[in-house]
C-alpha cells in the first residue's frame, strides 16, 4: 500500500497529487523548496543537483507523512532508482581534471560521483538505519522496481520503504517521484 507521494520536475511540484505553488524553475526551484520548506540543513548547498532533488523530495514527502522525524529507526528502508546515475556530478568532476595545465580535482565534486550518496544523505538526515540502495536502470521499469521492493520486504525488520525515481541529467532536466510504501501482511506483486 502506498501513502503519500511527491513529484518534482523542473517546472512543477506535486505533493499527494496536489500542485505546490512556486516561483522558480530548474535547479533554482530546488533551492526555493529548500528555503521555503526545510531551511535547517546547510549541507544542502554542498550537494549536487541529484542529491538536492532527492533531498528536497524526501523532505516534502516526510512532511506530508507527518510522523515524528529524526527518531532513530531500523524499520524504514530507502530504495531509489534512476537512469543517469550521477552523470551531472561525474561531468562536473571531469571538468576539474580535463586540462593538464589546470588540473585541480575537486574533492567536493568527487564525493557526489556516486548516485547512492542520495540514499545516504536521506538516511543520515532522518536517522534511518534500514537498507539503503540505489539502482541504475535503462528505463523506469515498474516490474523491476516492484521486484526490488518486494525483495527488500523479505527483511523482517523492514516495515516501510521510502522509494521511487530520482533522476537528474542536468540542472534543467530532472525528475523525482517518491513514495512511502508500507509492508502489507501478504502480497506478491506490487502495483504502481
Amino acid at each position: 500500500m502506498t501513502r503519500h507521494s511527491v513529484m518534482i520536475t523542473p517546472d512543477s511540484v506535486m505533493v499527494n497529487g496536489k500542485p505546490l505553488a512556486h516561483k522558480e524553475n530548474g535547479a533554482a526551484l530546488l533551492t526555493e523548496l529548500y528555503r521555503t520548506y526545510v531551511g535547517d540543513y546547510p549541507k544542502f548547498f554542498k550537494m549536487d543537483t541529484l542529491c538536492k532533488l532527492g533531498f528536497v523530495a524526501s523532505e516534502l514527502l516526510l512532511q506530508a507523512e507527518g510522523e515524528p522525524r529524526f527518531v532513530p529507526r531500523e524499520d524504514r528502508a530507502v530504495i531509489l532508482f534512476n537512469r543517469n546515475a550521477s552523470l551531472q556530478a561525474d561531468t562536473a568532476y571531469q571538468a576539474t581534471i580535463q586540462d593538464p595545465d589546470n588540473f585541480f580535482p575537486s574533492p567536493a565534486a568527487f564525493v557526489y560521483t556516486l548516485p547512492n550518496i542520495v540514499t545516504g544523505e536521506i538516511a543520515i538526515r532522518n536517522k534511518y538505519y534500514g537498507e539503503t540502495s540505489f539502482f541504475v536502470m535503462e528505463n523506469d521499469d515498474a516490474s523491476v522496481i516492484s521486484r526490488q521492493l518486494v525483495n527488500a520486504f523479505q527483511d523482517p525488520k523492514t516495515l516501510s520503504i521510502l522509494n521511487g525515481w530520482v533522476d537528474c541529467f542536468d540542472e534543467d532536466h530532472f525528475e523525482a517521484h517518491l513514495f512511502i510504501l508500507d509492508k502489507l501482511p501478504t502480497y506478491d506483486i506490487l502495483e504502481f
Partner: protein, 85 residues
Amino acid sequence: MDELIYTLKQQIIEALNLEDMTPEDIDENASLFGEGLGLDSIDALELIVLMEKNYGIKLKDPAQGKEIFKSVAVMADFISKNRTK
C-alpha cells in the same frame, strides 16, 4: 594583509558553497572547523586545492593543515609567506 584576508574569505565562500554568507560574516580569527564555520573534512581538502590553485602552495604534509586552517587570519599569514603566484 587585509586585502588578502578579504579575498581569501571570498574564495572560501565560493569554493565551499557557503550560500547566504558574505566576507563580512566570517570572523578572520574564528576557528574554521568545529564551532567556527563548521567546516568538515571534505572542506579541508577543498581548502588545500584552493591554496594550490590560487596561490601555488602545495601542502606536502596533510598534518600541516591543522595549523594552517586554524582561522582565515592564520591561513592568510601562511599564504603571504609561502605563495608562489
